[in-house]
Amino acid sequence: MATKASRSAARLMMAPAVVLLLGWMLIPLILTLTFSFKKFLPLRGDQIESGWDWFTFFPSLDWVGFENYGRFIGSSSFWPAVQTTLVIVLGVLFITVVLGILLALLLDQPMWGQGVVRILVIAPFFVMPTVSALVWKNMFMDPVNGLFAHLWRFFGAEPIAWLSEASLPSIIMIVSWQWLPFATLILLTAIQSLDGEQLEAAEMDGAPPLKRFWFIILPHLSRAVTIVILIQTIFLLSVFAEIFVTTGGAFGTRTLTYLIFQRVLESQNVGLGSAGGVYAIILANIVAIFLMRIVGKNLDT
């Protein structure tokens, strides 16, 4: 039984984590919001003072209202960036979920050396993004020395300069390779929790494999699929390193995340970039709300 004393002790034990996360969330958020309403170009002489400036929301910077928000959306690179982001997120989701379901079904079957196959399939998830992007870029997609180029030439075809001619499919392929293990692993876990008797009964009744999949396995997987989609979407919206080391945002691979990064750190237009950041936060939150609902429901049981 929880006593009053244990309750206050519990609150005390929770305090460091709560306070730290509150600070981690609020301080940068407030700063980003403030900067998004200001003209802030550090390279052109806009400076902020340490100390008092921080506590008074930077009076030394000019207030420009919603100008940054308008300019970010109005810029010619905004809609292409949104489109690129959507293509990458949806492309990777489609590939990883479809292949993930098929792979999970296969791995659930009886076979020899299941453990080893699992290990092989999961491995890409543990490769750091900069390594996987550079390995794919050079050793597979290089138009002269890459393995794909060798393969293409072997079949008498002209090698493709993957990352410039087919930049988006290439990025989607690299990112899918990294995330397929995650989808597979979670879907496999879900399939294994499926009640075997129900499947057997259906089999006895003469339901063909496709029907069993469609009417029993897929509905059972729906929750896991939703979770895979939501969690991956949150990570995929902020794909960064894979673009940073392959194309640097060129050849139509500039996502919203990358565009904001360029505005903020490369061209040091902090006001404009911060407005973009606020858009990104709103977008991520729309996805997050759905995820939280599912996770929250699960907490009750």
């Binding site: 309750r7 196959v117 543990f126 050793m139 990064f261």
Partner: protein, 276 residues
């Protein structure tokens, strides 16, 4: 009764699964193989798979030219430091939420999770600026703290789901036997919690090791970990496939091995207990 499976079907499954597993694993295998080739062999056409003159010189060159060990050390400090710090802060929090739940526990957990959803790029400049102001840009301490804060929600969540599985009756039994709070924590709960804490440490070490947004944007030279070291190969000079492979192999090998041990925890940790 288990479904009867013919040997033929099992063989078919095995063949197909191994083939697909091989294809998915191939880029990693190819990187490891290439790291033992000379630069000329690394780009030879047709490609050589196993029959080449195995050499270790790429590993020596990578270390010599770029002081690989320093980057490795930075990665160890950042991933290890942030994980330890995170555990120290998260254990009491998860503990109290699991054993003394209140009406608000669920809200606090969900709110913590929501901080994880904040896109990093949205708060990039403020964090960058704070680091500049405090004079900790490109320092390991900044990365340790940032990485700890990023992973804290996952650490709390994972620990919470593990702690919640410890049955309350055991606590009551211990109390009946006259155990005080100290004995309770030390002799009853801690031994039961160790496996959960160990898995949490493992997964978070992996996540911190591979994190490549903050490590790329907040480091330059001094605190750069392996993610940044590998990224420096994106503008190469001359032949470099074999050296890139050697550097990559060294960067991923320890994590790959740790990762294989943490398969099960991965599902729990990354779905916040929603799939078990």
């Amino acid at each position: 009764m288990a479904r009867a499976v013919t040997n033929r079907r099992k063989t078919l499954n095995t063949g197909l699964a191994w083939a697909i597993g091989f294809i998915i694993f191939f880029p990693i295998l190819w990187t490891i193989l290439t790291s033992f080739k000379t630069e000329a062999q690394a780009i030879s056409n047709p490609p050589v798979f196993l029959f080449f003159d195995w050499t270790l010189e790429n590993y020596a060159i990578v270390q010599e030219r770029s002081n690989y060990v320093r980057f490795l050390w930075n990665s160890v400090i950042i991933a290890g430091g942030s994980t330890i710090l995170g555990i120290i802060i998260a254990v009491p929090a998860a503990w109290s939420m699991a054993f003394v739940p209140s009406k608000r526990t669920k809200d606090i957990l969900l709110w913590m999770l929501s901080t994880k959803m904040l896109p990093a790029v949205g708060v990039l400049y403020p964090i960058y600026l704070i680091c500049v102001e405090l004079g900790v840009l490109d320092s390991r301490i900044a990365l340790v703290v940032v990485m700890m804060l990023i992973n804290l929600p996952i650490i709390v969540w994972m620990l919470y789901t593990y702690f919640r599985e410890i049955p309350g009756e055991i606590l009551e039994a211990a109390r009946m036997d006259g155990a005080g709070l100290k004995e309770e924590v030390l002799y009853v709960l801690t031994p039961m919690a160790i496996p959960g804490i160990a898995s949490t440490v493992l997964l978070n070490f992996i996540l911190a090791w591979n994190e490549a947004f903050w490590t790329l944007n907040l480091t330059a030279v001094n605190a750069a970990p392996l993610t940044a070291f590998i990224a420096s190969y994106s503008s190469p000079e001359g032949l470099f496939f074999a050296k890139l492979s050697a550097a990559s192999t060294m960067a991923i090998a320890p994590i790959l091995i740790m990762g294989w041990f943490s398969q099960k925890q991965l599902v729990r940790g990354l779905t916040f207990g929603a799939v078990k």
